[in-house]
Symmetry: C2
């Protein structure tokens, strides 16, 4: 399966194919020929897949192993990686290969986007969630007080997605990625949402065929949105459905305590409930909630968190300006819109979610 992604200045392919990492070298040399490469790889991915990946190249390729987890999107990892690039003499014609989940994609992408003011890179996503980071060109690291606060837009030359690699993913990582897949249905494609609901009843037993199909579909839907609006002033904002509260939860719990997608799932339930309160129409959230609970999600806002702290974070989320508190809500399943939300309304619903009212 192949999806073409068009960006302002170039276009690239997302190849979704079981076993593709066994011939990654070939594909990479075709799409991004270079005198030298550097693999930046997640430590868990390195253990299981690095040797297969390396074997697909004819020459030796240097690699740099990044500790697993969000904490790696730090200034110190960023600086160490850049030092390493220089040490092994990567030059402006070199290519960085990001082999891992969203963490490695974002970190390696930001290294590629800034080393010598930008060199090429290729993504080889190894998590389900990384279907999301492989389209859109956003790369970033975190500030101590703000996730993804520092970054650039930098498009990959190629994305190689091997569904076989996902087999070793822990279940919570399946949930993390699947929430973003479902989000695409929520904001952009009702039929897709309903097909997913029908097709996916157990995250441990997804048919390969189904998996490839929904990854491709989610990539296509995201690509369509991003193409309309590469710099996120407009429709791209819709991708933040579930993210305003989701990000706040991640930050309050400390990054890594909950997966991104699991936090976003909580944020989606909240956004639906808030929409039902403040908009003139209402959406049946309960079948979504039941489905997600069957899949193992916990949709309650973690009770140890305070509504006030969460709301403070939601207002300073970089997607909100400080004057207006904006959030993405659903007009219907398959269609989202940015709304101005009164802080009082958000507070009320949030307190209900927390059982505080």
């Amino acid at each position: 399966m192949r999806v073409d992604v068009q960006t302002t200045n170039q276009s690239y392919q997302v190849l979704i194919e079981p076993g593709i990492i066994t011939r990654a070298g070939e594909e990479i040399k075709k799409a991004a020929p270079a005198s030298s490469y550097l693999i930046i790889v997640d430590e868990n991915v390195a253990t299981t897949y690095l040797s297969i990946f390396l074997a697909s190249f004819e020459q030796e390729i240097p690699y740099y192993v990044v500790p697993s987890g969000e904490a790696s999107k730090s200034f110190s990892q960023y600086e160490s990686l850049l030092d390493y690039c220089l040490q092994i003499k990567l030059d402006r014609s070199s290519v960085i290969l990001a082999f891992g989940g969203g963490v490695v994609g974002d970190l390696a992408g930001f290294v590629a986007g800034t080393y010598m003011r930008g060199i090429r890179f290729v993504q080889i996503p190894t998590t389900l969630l990384a279907h999301d980071s492989s389209v859109g060109g956003k790369v970033a690291i975190n500030l101590a007080d703000g996730k993804n606060m520092v970054g650039v837009f930098h498009q990959p030359e190629l994305v190689l997605y091997d569904p076989n690699v996902l087999k070793t993913l822990p279940e919570k990582e399946w949930r993390s990625g699947f929430a973003e897949i479902v989000k695409m249905g929520f904001i952009a494609d009702r039929a897709f949402f309903e097909w997913l609901h029908l097709e996916v009843t157990d995250l441990k037993a997804i048919k390969q065929e189904t998996l490839i199909q929904f990854i491709a579909k989610a990539v296509q839907l995201k690509a369509a949105i991003v193409q309309q609006d590469e710099r996120e002033d407009n429709v791209r904002a819709l991708l933040n459905f579930g993210h305003t509260l989701g990000h706040a939860i991640e930050a309050e719990l400390g990054y890594g305590a909950i997966t991104h997608g699991e936090a976003i799932a909580i944020g989606m339930r909240f956004a639906i409930r808030l929409g039902n309160r403040i908009l003139s129409h209402s959406i049946d959230g309960s079948s979504f909630e039941k489905w997600f609970e069957t899949l193992g999600y916990s949709l309650n806002v973690p009770p140890e968190l305070s509504a006030t702290s969460l709301l403070t974070r939601m207002k300073v989320d970089k997607k909100a300006s400080y004057q207006n508190f904006v959030m993405v809500l659903l007009d219907q399943v398959g269609q989202a819109k940015v709304y101005n939300v009164a802080v009082d309304d958000a507070m009320l619903v949030l307190k209900q979610e927390l059982g505080e009212s």
Copy 2:
């Protein structure tokens, strides 16, 4: 005096005008209206000019003082600044004001280019050398082992150049900036070179009129080159005349031991002499050398440096690929070209410069 600079996606003005910092607020609000600003300012500049600059705004503007010197283009300054941006809640519609020399321009520009994946910025250059950094959109910080190795391309919204501010510059900083002005003549405009030679005989006694004129001319010439080639694959490389050896000298001495332009002046003499050795034509370098010595430049390669170490650095300069050792040489005064240089030839001339042969 006003120069318009055209970039791929936008255009901006460089206003060169005595006293313009006293009404900077007004100009900035016109060209880059924003809900919030942050001034990033060099400590020496802050002492003398910050109050005047601040007074030109109606509201209070937060500022962040950066220690003077190249060492500030570091990861730790970069990270602290980004933390500060978040702390004072700069958002995507905020504007950063870079008030200082090239160091502050590069650092603040990289902060602006990456904070929230890029916000707007304005340059208020306070050194003669910064005429150079105010055009071209290159912003960067240094790795421990490589100058300007990490950065992006990020264009300012406006450049405000106040020649009055240059009065307090130490003499070596005049030499630093003036070398780059002369470089523009060398590579792109013989008449300009000759006019400079005639007009400037003492860096402490430049007429205001002359100063404004040559800043504007240098900015125009650089803008013309950059417009042809925004991403430095082609003619932009010519701007590196004098820089291959110059950068190596700066790095070997330790950043800050010699000013950028003084190192480039040494590099220009070397490039002329090397050209005279390996090209079929030859250029009269001696009148340039005498002129520059009168102006207080020391054109000898610092004798404590070794030819071998310098050459190693010259080969790994990011403007050179590792296979080919390229350098900008002059075909004549006013016209430069990129040449392949044999390491042996470069070594020979370098040893002569060092009196080692």
